[in-house]
């Protein structure tokens, strides 16, 4: 198992009150799965994604990533995992506004300690892969929304991570561009990557092969084949 979660808890202290954002979540994700996490706002899907992405640590339970317990790791080790193992794609793209596309894509490699020439080369390859070979020197504000998100995808892919974690990747795009981006994710999955989408849109989740629905901090349903095949089957079946 690539990811193995058991009885995951995440409690926030809001004033004197305790909020259980995650309340006993258990989930296994294998390599090369294409999975969507769905749920209304407040369901805990963002918290789950943050923990999966090693941006946050659980307050209880176990999160094993490649057979390593993540919950107890120090900050710098989490940063290393984010850098090597996880590629983020955000709803708002989160590109550095002052840097050109090439430089944005290079960033993960900078933190990986990659040498300058190799960084350049790999960032170029990643941008060509998402069809932006001719936009390398453009800054984010000189690119369309779809192009920006493709730069972000190139950035997520450039360090060859184990999973691509996309948080509402089409939320800021029109339907046509959104489809284009989802096609890109499909291709990424076909090439052997593990893709995890977080979304509240059913037609986006429909691209995935497995849909995990969340409500009030726990998993409500976990269906395989919920996406393209159309035939719903319980996970593990």
């Amino acid at each position: 198992m690539l990811i193995s979660i058991r009885d995951l808890q995440r409690v926030y202290e809001v004033g004197t009150e305790q909020v259980h954002a995650l309340n006993g979540v258990s989930l296994d994700i294998a390599a090369n799965e294409y999975l969507a996490i769905m749920g209304p706002s407040g369901s805990g899907k963002s918290t789950l994604m943050n923990i999966l992405g090693c941006l946050d640590t659980p307050t209880g339970g176990s999160y094993r990533f490649k057979d390593r317990e993540i919950a107890a790791l120090p900050d710098d080790e989490l940063a290393r995992i984010r850098n090597r193992e996880i590629g983020f794609v955000f709803q708002t793209f989160n590109l550095l506004p002052r840097a050109d596309a090439l430089h944005n894509v290079e960033l993960p490699l900078v933190y990986a300690g990659c040498r300058h020439e190799e960084r350049r080369r790999r960032a170029r390859e990643a941008l060509e892969l998402v069809g932006l070979g001719d936009r390398m020197k453009h800054r984010p504000n000189e690119l369309s929304g779809g192009q920006r998100q493709r730069v972000a995808i190139a950035r997520a892919l450039v360090n060859k991570p184990s999973i691509i974690l996309a948080d509402e990747p089409t939320g800021n795009l029109d339907t046509a561009t959104g489809e284009e981006i989802m096609t890109a994710f499909g291709r990424i999955w076909e090439q052997g990557n593990t893709v995890i989408l977080v979304t509240h849109e059913a037609d986006i989740a429909a691209h995935a092969h497995r849909v995990v629905r969340m409500r009030d901090g726990h998993i409500e349903s976990d269906l395989r084949g919920a996406g393209r095949t159309g035939a719903a089957a319980p996970a593990g079946a």
Binding site: L55, D56, D76, R80, N83, R84, N94, L96, Y111
Partner: protein, 405 residues
């Protein structure tokens, strides 16, 4: 995180807000500029004084009645000491083996006249042979005074170029008879100019042989002696020998203080440095305050920058930046910022120093170590005052930072 990128970001931000950058860096610019300026002027004065101090040549010390006097009380005490006689000077010449040249000297002031022209109150000096060496004088026209002039007590003199110019406008002075006070004297030579020291001309003098001086200008008078040691290393030896000679002649028992003064150029320089040191300390104080204020402004602007770029910090962390990476990035930016201020400050300081030497005739000398000091100092200010904002940036929670609007 590489340094070049951080510096690039900082420089781009500087360029984007030129006025804000200038105001941010004003404190640093003033602080560094002031330090460079004062260091240059003090350094310039030091060199100037070392070059010209009392117009003596190198490795020269002098023995007189008073020594180094800085207060009136000291003068009253020293005035009671026995005079230095020409016999004392002869004893020094005989008893100081580490002195290459010993020159007897006496000074007074006199009016210098040629026909209806008068140069009032010029320095009239009696000098023994070898004076041109210890006083570092070169002849321009005619000749120097000689041993024979001295032995025969000839009424001859050598004039400084300014004294000569005052009474001989457009006339060749050599061979002409002038009046020095009450006495008639023949001009045998004119020296080359030595220039001014602190606005005081060093070329307004008449020098006569010491025995001529003794015969015509003074009956009872305290002389003094120039001693030129054989080399730099022999200076302390020559000083000690001279002290021994005079103490023996005056029967001073051990434990009693010298009743004469021995002055080395160092002695003057020490006093001089004490004075400039005060000025220096004051300016360093002012510069320190300017740098402190400058540093606080930099800290403020860095805190603003951290807040403005919270989201960027979140993105960087999500992409794998460790705390250390973020810390270094913002430290490098703060250092780049203040370094820019430092470089501008150095430029301003150097320009001011050049301006001062050009307009105010202050001899400013820009020394390379002071430039490094200025740049290093500004860098240090940036790192010191950038530390807190950088630390804040590095501690940001990635989720909060990513969510920041």
């Amino acid at each position: 995180m590489n340094l070049r990128e951080s510096m690039g970001i900082a420089l781009a931000a500087l360029r984007a807000n030129k006025l804000r950058s200038f105001l941010t860096l004003l404190g640093t610019i003033i602080g560094v500029g002031a330090v460079i300026f004062v260091l240059s002027v003090v350094e310039g004065l030091n060199r100037y004084v070392e070059d010209k101090m009392l117009g003596v040549g190198s490795n020269v010390l002098w023995v007189d009645k008073y020594g180094m006097i800085t207060t009136q009380e000291e003068f009253i005490e020293a005035d009671k000491r026995p005079d230095i006689t020409l016999a004392d000077v002869e004893a020094l010449a005989a008893g100081v083996p580490h002195a290459a040249v010993v020159v007897a000297a006496g000074d007074t002031y006199a009016h210098l006249r040629y026909r209806d022209k008068v140069a009032r109150s010029i320095r009239l000096g009696g000098r023994g042979p070898g004076y041109e060496v210890v006083e570092d004088l070169t002849i321009d026209q005619g000749r120097h005074l000689t041993d024979v002039d001295d032995r025969r007590r000839r009424p001859v003199c050598v004039l400084g170029p300014e004294a000569a110019a005052e009474i001989f406008p457009g006339i060749d002075p050599v061979g002409r008879q002038v009046r020095l006070g009450e006495q008639t004297s023949e001009v045998v030579g004119v020296t080359k100019p030595k220039g001014k020291m602190f606005g005081q001309s060093q070329d307004r003098f008449a020098t006569v042989p010491i025995r001529t001086f003794q015969k015509y200008w003074t009956s009872r008078f305290s002389y003094y002696a120039f001693l030129k040691s054989v080399d730099q290393a022999a200076m302390p030896l020559a000083e000690q020998e001279a002290r021994n000679v005079l103490r023996a002649r005056r029967h001073l028992t051990p434990g009693r203080p010298d009743n004469f003064g021995i002055t080395l150029p160092d002695t003057f320089m020490d006093l001089y440095r004490k004075i400039t040191g005060g000025v220096f300390a004051l300016t360093i104080g002012v510069a320190a305050i300017a740098l402190l204020v400058g540093g606080i402004v930099i800290m403020n602007i860095m805190l603003v920058s951290v807040t403005e770029r919270t989201r960027e910090i979140g993105v960087r962390k999500a992409l794998g930046a460790r705390r250390h990476d973020i810390l270094m990035q913002f430290l490098a930016e703060a250092a780049t910022l203040s370094l820019t201020g430092g470089l501008v400050g150095v430029t301003v300081g150097v320009l001011l120093a050049l301006l001062a030497s050009g307009l105010a005739h202050l001899p400013a000398a820009v020394s390379v170590p002071s430039l490094f000091l200025g740049v290093g100092m500004s860098c240090l200010v940036g790192v010191f005052f950038g530390a807190y904002p950088a630390w804040r940036a590095s501690r940001l929670d990635p989720i909060e930072a990513l969510r920041y609007e």
